[in-house]
Amino acid sequence: MMTFLTYLVSGVSLGSVYAIIALGYTMVYGIAKMLNFAHGDVIMVGAYISFCTTSYLHLPAWLSVVFAVAVCTALGVVIEGLAYKPLRQAGSLAVLITAIGVSYFLQNAAQLIWTSNTKVFTSVVGLPSVRLFGGRLTITGETIVTVLACLLIMAGLTFFTGGTKLGKAMRACSEDKAAAQLMGINVNATISMTFAIGSALAAVAGVLLCSSYNTLIPTAGAMPGIKAFTAAVFGGIGSIPGALLGGLLLGIIEIFASAYLSSELSLAIVFGVLIVVLLVKPSGLLGRYVPEKV
């Protein structure tokens, strides 16, 4: 039983990191209708910025997070403006390929700036671990902070998209860009704003990812990015609670698969479950079913 709880805690911890990344993915996808393959690499940049500010400039941890968020937000807006905006009229695949180009670019630029040597990220979380049941179950401070951050971000995003003017503009763009424009919404600015928010989330995700799993290399964002994308689709892409649910489930399934079934085949099991779920619920767990119209 205790072992089960240990695995569950690990799964929730991993899952909430996926969830934060997936939230960024889902935001961008929901509004810009593009798969931003470079999202994982923005995460990596965020982690590096945080690493540099704490290790080289010796700034406090909270300030490094602020720095990471600021740099990534700027980076997101610049990437959007230079690489994605000129393709707004082109097909979604053209933007997808450009995003892949941006992803290659960020990875290789990171290697040139920070070298390929592994950096061991020092956790920005100051909280001590909580030990329950006489020390048999450990919940690390990182887990607590990640889960809290995840819930906070989800609540914030839900409020933002549902309650604020800008959020409503985003939803309008997501429904119908042309109609939104006719209503006086600046579509371009709204999409830039979405990228800014998505990238800020990526920075937070990067810092939390590397706080929990400490090694950092220029390709560190690629696999978590893919998995979070999977999580976003799993939960129903475009849906904010869906991203949270998808991320958490993906993390828990991944840990349980390697703990109880086969660590050799854990990836195959995770993706296998995903396929089965999508076949049963073709628009993801919480995705909206949009009937096709002629």
């Binding site: 798969l35 097909g91 450009t98 670019f105 993706f271 628009s283």
Partner: protein, 355 residues
């Protein structure tokens, strides 16, 4: 020449395609014969052929059928591993002719990849758009993960297979697939001529499919699924047909690829390779077979040119920038109209000069 003019446009286009591919092949052969091709270019001929076939087949799925697939390399891996297994088994069974083994390997690779395509396609094609994309991506990851656990060898008693455990209980014999190492100690029998023939076959298959009744049904489904269904066309059947044909071609390309290297690891076929092939297709133009061929050849050769190799650490960075710029250049309306305007003005000036 007259006959060329009176041909149907589709048939004429086919004929031009075959002629141009053959001409390219002959030119390369000629240059090779004269010793004018560097080792670097010669070494890339077979992989370029493989990538061209991969791009052609993926174009059938993405361009013609309109489905985003992110797991095409998975079918390539099925073809590569089964093809290599077939070739090595035949070799140890005493089949001496490399050509026979190569063709048999490509056939086996195509059949097994088609089977994999069918198994994946039947459930997956119920989905659409990004959901289909993620299922194909998941399939690609699953197949790599599974192949990393496969051990296969052949001895006098036949094939020996084991999963997760390296022990094959063979008496003598040779190891064919060895877990994460992938294929090991393969006799390289792939050749440029085989690659060229495979491209011709792929072109013939794809173009004939596109210009057939089935092809029109596939494109109609892509353009409007409901309208197509309403006139009584079974859209799933035709989408599945395109998907399976593409998988079969990818399998054949995989077999050729696998037999061009003495060792290929399963991780070669992860989503990075799938995405690479997708880049070829999109860059070459959706549905544009010629574009796929040129883009695959260009983008495969580009990072290997001495100029790019000379950039050392900056090589992949430059490659990324080129990729982004090319995408912006080919797809941004203002860049296009700028180029168009310039060309038109030039044309007009020329016409003016004639007058």
């Amino acid at each position: 020449m007259n006959r060329l003019r009176t041909m149907k446009p589709a048939a004429r286009q086919n004929l031009i395609s075959y002629t141009l591919v053959t001409a390219a092949y002959l030119v390369i052969r000629l240059l090779q014969g004269q010793g004018m091709l560097s080792r670097s270019i010669q070494g890339q001929l077979v992989p370029i052929c493989c990538y061209i076939v991969m791009a052609l087949s993926l174009n059938l799925v993405v361009g013609i059928s309109g489905e985003l697939s992110l797991g095409h390399a998975g079918f390539m891996s099925v073809g590569a591993f089964s093809g290599v297994a077939a070739a090595v088994s035949l070799e140890s069974g005493g089949v001496g002719s490399p050509a026979v083994r190569l063709v048999a390997a490509m056939a086996v690779g195509a059949v097994l990849a088609a089977a994999a395509g069918f198994i994946v396609g039947v459930p997956a094609l119920r989905l659409q758009g990004d959901y289909l994309a993620i299922v194909t991506l998941a399939f690609g990851q699953i197949i790599v993960n599974i192949l990393q656990c496969v051990y296969l060898g052949v001895d006098a008693g036949g094939l020996h297979f084991n999963f997760l455990d390296a022990e094959l209980h063979m008496e003598g014999g040779v190891s064919i697939i060895s877990g994460p190492k992938g294929t090991v100690s393969v006799t390289k029998i792939a050749s440029f001529t085989a690659g060229f023939l495979l491209i011709l076959v792929a072109l013939a298959v794809v173009q004939n499919l596109v210009n057939s009744r089935a092809g029109r049904a596939i494109m109609a489904t892509r353009d409007n699924r409901i309208a197509t269904a309403s006139v009584g066309i079974n859209s799933t059947k035709y989408r599945l047909m395109a998907f399976v044909v593409a998988a079969a071609l990818a399998g054949a390309a995989g077999a050729l690829y696998g037999l061009n290297y003495s060792s290929v690891a399963p991780s070669k076929f992860d989503y990075n390779t799938s995405i690479l092939v997708l880049v070829f297709v999109v860059l070459g133009g959706l549905g544009n077979m010629w574009g796929s061929i040129v883009a695959a050849a260009f983008l495969t050769a580009l990072p290997e040119t001495p100029a790019m190799r000379g950039l050392a650490d900056y090589r992949m960075l430059v490659y990324a920038v080129v990729l982004i710029l090319v995408m912006l250049g080919t797809n941004n309306p203002s860049v296009q109209s700028f180029l168009n305007g310039k060309l038109r003005r030039k044309k007009r000036r020329k016409e003016g000069a004639v007058k």
